[in-house]
């Protein structure tokens, strides 16, 4: 074990990464009463978590039923008024719609593109490592810098994008100043920034498909296309579903690139939920209302997560 390479150790790490993966009953002598050292070891983490996660989750819930401008110090209980106001607020529904458009615009493109890239990279391709580096690079850079670069790319007169589509005879688009085009611009950039993650996850899924399935199909005379639709797609279904759910969760929380690329504009066309929460909390200081909006987002994401857990229990093992 000590002499194994880092790669092997890391593979083990991956293999072990299910919650129930480790059998960590102490073999031999069973030790009781590690409570005190355990508390000592856990205390830094517990203190931070209690202060910055556990307390906030409950306090945010409490706040969502109150009116509070944090500087006045007065909290007033107003029941579900914040929620009622929100559901009667036209802007909230606009924002909700924008978030949904962004999410469901990004995900299909993102998934098709990342699966395509992962699928080709799974074959005999020269310079695989270099290619993977290129496709993954957008993931690691800061969203702020990425959005600044794309603002320049989207420049209506001198930008690379309008020039490139011009080659195919498409008229210049005023990307960031037109409500519909701005959302499209955000979606395109969002796909570029995140598809590398899904590519890596799809690659892992593809590697898990046993080679002999393809060999058997080959013997039966199946072509590439049949193999892709009848072996790859069904066997990849659990991975695909996982990626889809995780993508929905992260797309619903998009903020940084919106803030820098479009600032929610033009005319609020790209204002998304987290932006709305941020604005109400830290611009208008309606902490109660903002907390309620945050909880609505939480509820949506929680429902999606439950859906995933339920699906994973039922479907994961039906293939393969």
């Amino acid at each position: 074990m000590i002499s194994t390479s880092p790669e092997v150790q890391e593979e083990k790490l991956i293999l072990a990464s299910s919650i129930k993966g480790g059998k960590n009953k102490l073999h031999g002598k069973e030790k009781k009463g590690d409570l005190l050292p355990a508390l000592l070891f856990l205390s830094p983490t517990l203190i931070i978590f209690t202060t910055f996660i556990l307390f906030p989750v409950f306090f945010s819930f409490y706040l969502s039923f109150h009116e509070w401008n944090m500087f006045s110090g007065e909290t007033t209980f107003i029941g579900i008024d914040n929620y009622v106001r929100m559901f009667n607020n036209e802007e909230f529904w606009e924002v909700f719609k924008n978030t949904a458009i962004y999410t469901f615009g990004t995900i299909p493109l993102n998934m098709c593109f990342s699966l395509l890239v992962a699928y080709i990279l799974h074959k005999k391709i020269m310079g695989k490592k270099l290619l993977r580096t290129a496709f993954f690079a957008p993931v690691v850079i800061s969203p702020v810098a990425a959005a600044v670069i794309w603002r320049w790319m989207y420049d209506p007169n001198f930008g690379l994008i309008n020039y490139s589509i011009g080659i195919f005879g498409i008229d210049p688009i005023n990307w960031l100043n037109d409500p519909v085009a701005a959302m499209a611009a955000l979606i395109i950039m969002g796909v570029w920034k995140t598809f590398g993650i899904n590519m890596v996850l799809f690659s892992a899924g593809l590697q898990a498909i046993p080679e002999h399935y393809y060999e058997a199909a080959q013997i039966d005379g199946a072509n590439q296309w049949t193999k892709f639709w009848n072996i790859t797609v069904p066997l990849l279904a659990p991975t695909t579903f996982f990626i889809m759910v995780m993508s929905i969760i992260s797309s619903f929380q998009v903020f940084d690139i919106v803030y820098v690329l479009t600032s929610g504009g033009p005319l609020g066309a790209t204002k998304v939920l987290v932006f709305y929460v941020y604005e109400h909390a830290f611009k208008f200081f309606n902490m109660g209302y903002a907390s309620a909006a945050g909880y609505v987002l939480f509820a949506i994401l929680f429902a999606i997560t439950l859906l995933q857990v339920k699906y994973m229990k039922n479907k994961v093992y039906t293939f393969g």
Binding site: F41, T45, S60, L63, L121, V144, A145, I249, M287
Partner: protein, 278 residues
């Protein structure tokens, strides 16, 4: 050569062309950023766009550092990212060891609770977290950027999964020699866990260095600005000064991009393990 074989070679050739074009499109924004960062405005405002500058203006970088205190931003970002990373390596190792090796009542429940916190969206906790900092008088300080990041469920999970793969025999010998649990963690577990610790360190550093929203919320003074916050504010001030904006962007992405080139697999492991976190 059979027709089928020629067919498969040309197909593979097409696949190569296709994937390399896609790769080029993916990195084109990077190339465009680097090249624009060394152009003057005359080269920038031309149509059709020219890839290469007629003269390389490396002095744009000097201009950026004069136009805004990017050196200061850099120092802030590195300081905060380094302290959070170091802090997380310590707190996560300790917590992971407790979950991996110590026997106490409610351990599994607590561990599941830990994992559950990873599902809580950031914007639910950010308002009360800000208020905690406000009550502590920490708004607009380094502590505000550092302290909330000093623990991590993901990091604890990652290290715990690694620690349980280490054979117990190694520790038992040390216990027989009278070593304490802390010594065992420090002298045996930690040295064997370098790959996992490296993954966590790189992943945390990247997250903190690239963080934007938290810095936006808790900072006011220019002295404390991180590179990302500084760049966002710089963007508001120099709206179409693309030479300076691109030089600033290069400044903001370079450290992470460099680490990424040399330690790519740690990034990929981190991302795969965390599911999908921005």
């Amino acid at each position: 050569m059979s027709a089928a074989k020629i067919g498969s070679i040309s197909k593979s050739f097409l696949e190569h062309i296709f994937i390399y074009i896609l790769a080029f499109i993916t990195i084109a924004p990077f190339i465009w950023m680097f090249l624009t960062s060394v152009k003057d405005m005359a080269d920038i405002y031309v149509y059709p766009p020219q890839w290469l500058p007629s003269v390389f203006h490396f002095d744009n970088y000097i201009k950026v550092f004069e136009a805004a205190p990017f050196a200061r931003y850099y120092m802030n970002s590195f300081f905060v990212a380094a302290v959070v990373t170091l802090g997380q390596l310590i707190t996560c190792s300790l917590a992971a060891y407790a979950f991996a090796r110590l026997n106490f009542k409610g351990r599994n429940t607590l561990f599941l609770l830990f994992l559950g916190t990873m599902m809580i969206p950031y914007n639910v906790t950010m308002i009360p977290s800000f208020m905690v900092l406000y009550w502590l008088g920490w708004v607009d300080t380094y502590q505000a950027l550092i302290v909330p990041g000093l623990a991590s469920a993901f990091g604890t999970f990652l290290l715990r999964q690694f620690f349980i793969t280490i054979p117990k025999e190694l520790e038992e010998a040390a216990y027989l020699d009278g070593a304490s649990k802390f010594t065992v963690l420090k002298k045996i577990i930690i040295p064997l866990s370098k790959p996992a610790l490296a993954t966590l360190a790189i992943f945390t550093f990247m997250g903190v260095f690239n963080d934007f929203i938290w810095a936006l919320i808790v900072l006011n003074s220019e002295d404390l600005r991180t590179v990302q916050l500084g760049l966002a504010i710089f963007r508001d001030r120099y709206l179409t000064q693309w030479d300076l904006l691109m030089a600033g962007s290069v400044t903001a992405v370079m450290p992470i991009l460099l680490v990424f080139f040399f330690a790519q697999k740690y990034f990929i492991k981190g991302i795969t393990l965390s599911g999908l976190k921005d």
